[in-house]
Symmetry: C2
Subunit: 392 residues, 2 copies
């Protein structure tokens, strides 16, 4: 990539961070976002997409929460990559989350880089990017920001909150922070806390970014550079954890890349190498490196039970929400035992909960893929919840 | 670390690469090492340690093969780190590999950085370091080099070849390349080929090193710098794969590092972060970054069956060697199914083979740790083999 091309990527990022291709709700000095870090963030903004129509009762709103590297473009073409929405298999007309029936909202998380205030956003006081002066955020902060958006949209409570991975963490946090505002909750491929191994993988990714001299202690936007190599390495490592050994074996095995024999060099001899390098370089075009630091950190800090003397069941005690928890057999990032821990806590807390473990070799990323069992379970859960809520 | 301290680390590495704290066997222009890459490497040298005494029959020699980041200092204090030998739990007076009874040899692999010729070694023709002009090497090349060392030491055949991980790959290759020279073979926590997932993790590590601007396309020694940050990131990522989720949970969990609450910063809040950072930075002091590229690549290329139409059993057909294969329940880098594949192939090939799967939560690194079951199995296997071979 030429010097020139790299600069244009940098400016795309500044533009999407401040002035995204999405509706934005702005909150002024009198409406700060109160962060767990003890900071009152103001002014701030949240970028979001909506699909479908809010009914007269305002009872058919579904909030979709995105994962680490996701964004609000859940069911429309992505403005930067030009690709379809990341969950168009699940959400759309006639889909399990039927936009002919439900009003679907998806917002970029606080700390993100697609229009909600984050480290790549411009500070009003200095006119420069926040960079590392942006306060650390948590999953609870993401949910607080979403709640203020939902208020602003005039929606008293949500029919359902749904999300996978970090999105599932937000679903759980919604049910804990605002139990009366969540009729149904659908956390997928997630956990009630981030494990030591997951923290470890995130830390390697952060160190890869910070080791890139173009990171400039976070001030790369000011200095017109970009730690793209570090971010690509971080993404490559993380991407392995989203798949499974058996899927990698099935898809790539030890197949060579367009050659009959190894080159005895450090070229991408194996298809898996070429695939990973592509994952790294394409990610760099759409994601802000500092955002990656902030959002991974938010996941690491996530531990619902920590606020309840380590007893997860207490967090859910008396919850009025109905839950469906889903996991995938080959997911080793958020294995089924993490979902079972949530289910046990919900049961112990007296909540209404269903659980589905889906047999697949696709690993953690299965929640983003064509998984008919997941679609069927989601559809059945929402249909039953819609009857219970009296949505036509 | 100051500029000055960094330079002194660089010179330690050059010194150990050319003039190690170990005996060395040198091979001149008439004794090239014939590499799989099609290169006749000459001159070259191999650095090694020995323990115990070769008996009159020359029948009690055990060759120990080291893993990716290991070296020849298997049972003596390490000259660079000052730490005990990496397998002193297994090897020494009265240990399962009893140096009062056996003559133990351990050599640095070809491509390594502790005295055997590798990318950090000085080229005779240019007087500069080989760097990326060093030819790619394979596990079979490592074994060829060891065979030339064993010849030089006047040992016609080995009582046993033993090693874990990449060391285990060499054990298998010995049994295939020189079946008549291996009486007993003890491959531990290994596989007959490197999996797609393992290649993927290695590729991330290599990209982390190459992304470091101080790598200088491999010419960092010439330019007086060192890609230490890239190497540290590579090591951090790899280190996670050597452990297990349950061991990480048991040892670290979500415990904070010397603090009561998270700092809401990118400091190493969690103990696991601090531990990983230490693993990264201490590794940098003892290992050459280019060697890391070469040796990981050798593992990636490893696939014994590839030379036998994909039929592993054919590689071992009629093998006179007796084998004990060992694996660990929580090893996800070389899971038990990889060991079972070896055992099935040995059985199908008509070889004599035992198999032990050891229950532990310590992951792949268990082979380096205090595992009484491993010690007992190794001792029993060697005792029986010694009787069969007539070693007193």
């Amino acid at each position: 990539m030429s010097e020139h091309a790299l600069r244009s990527v940098v400016s795309i990022h500044r533009s999407e961070a401040d002035d995204p291709t999405s509706p934005v709700q702005r909150f002024g000095p009198d409406e700060p976002l109160m962060l767990d870090a003890g900071v009152a963030l103001a002014p701030w903004q949240i970028a979001y997409q909506t699909y479908g129509t809010l009914n007269e009762d305002r009872s058919n709103a579904i909030l979709v929460c995105h994962a680490l590297t996701g964004d609000q473009h859940v069911a429309n073409r992505h403005p930067v990559t030009g690709k379809p929405g990341w969950w168009e298999t699940l959400i759309g007309p006639g889909r399990p989350i039927d936009t002919g029936r439900y009003f679907v909202i998806c917002a970029n998380v606080i700390g993100g880089c697609l229009g909600t205030t984050g480290p790549a956003s411009t500070r009003q006081d200095t006119g420069g990017p926040w960079a590392l002066d942006f306060p650390l955020v948590t999953i609870r902060d993401m949910v607080r920001a979403q709640a203020m958006l939902v208020d602003r949209l005039g929606i008293p409570n949500l029919f359902c909150v749904v999300g996978g991975s970090m999105g599932g963490m937000q679903v759980l946090q919604w049910a804990v922070s605002y139990p009366e505002r969540v009729f149904a909750a659908l956390p997928i491929a997630t956990g009630a806390r981030h494990s030591a191994q997951n923290i470890a993988f995130h830390e390697v990714g952060r160190q890869a970014i910070m080791a890139d001299p173009d990171w400039r202690r976070g001030r790369y936007l000011d200095e017109g550079v970009r730690p793209g190599k570090g971010l690509a390495v971080a993404r490559m490592g993380a991407h392995i954890t989203y798949l499974s050994e058996s899927a990698l074996h099935r898809k790539f095995g030890r197949s060579l890349q367009n050659r009959a024999a190894p080159t005895f060099s450090f070229d991408a001899d194996f298809q898996i190498e070429s695939y990973l390098r592509h994952q790294g370089s394409s990610f760099v075009e759409r994601f802000d490196p500092n955002s990656y630091l902030y959002v991974t950190r938010a996941m690491d800090y996530f531990d619902i039970a920590a606020d309840y003397d380590g007893q997860l069941a207490r967090a859910f005690r008396g919850s009025p929400t109905r839950f469906l928890v889903m996991s995938f057999t080959s997911d080793w990032l958020f294995p089924t035992r993490d979902s079972r821990a949530i289910v046990h806590a919900l049961n112990a807390g007296g909540a209404q909960v269903g659980f589905v473990e889906i047999e697949t070799d696709k690993g953690h990323d299965a929640f983003l893929l064509d998984e008919p069992e997941m679609f069927a379970a989601a559809r059945g859960f929402l249909d039953a919840a819609a009857v219970a809520r009296g949505i036509a």
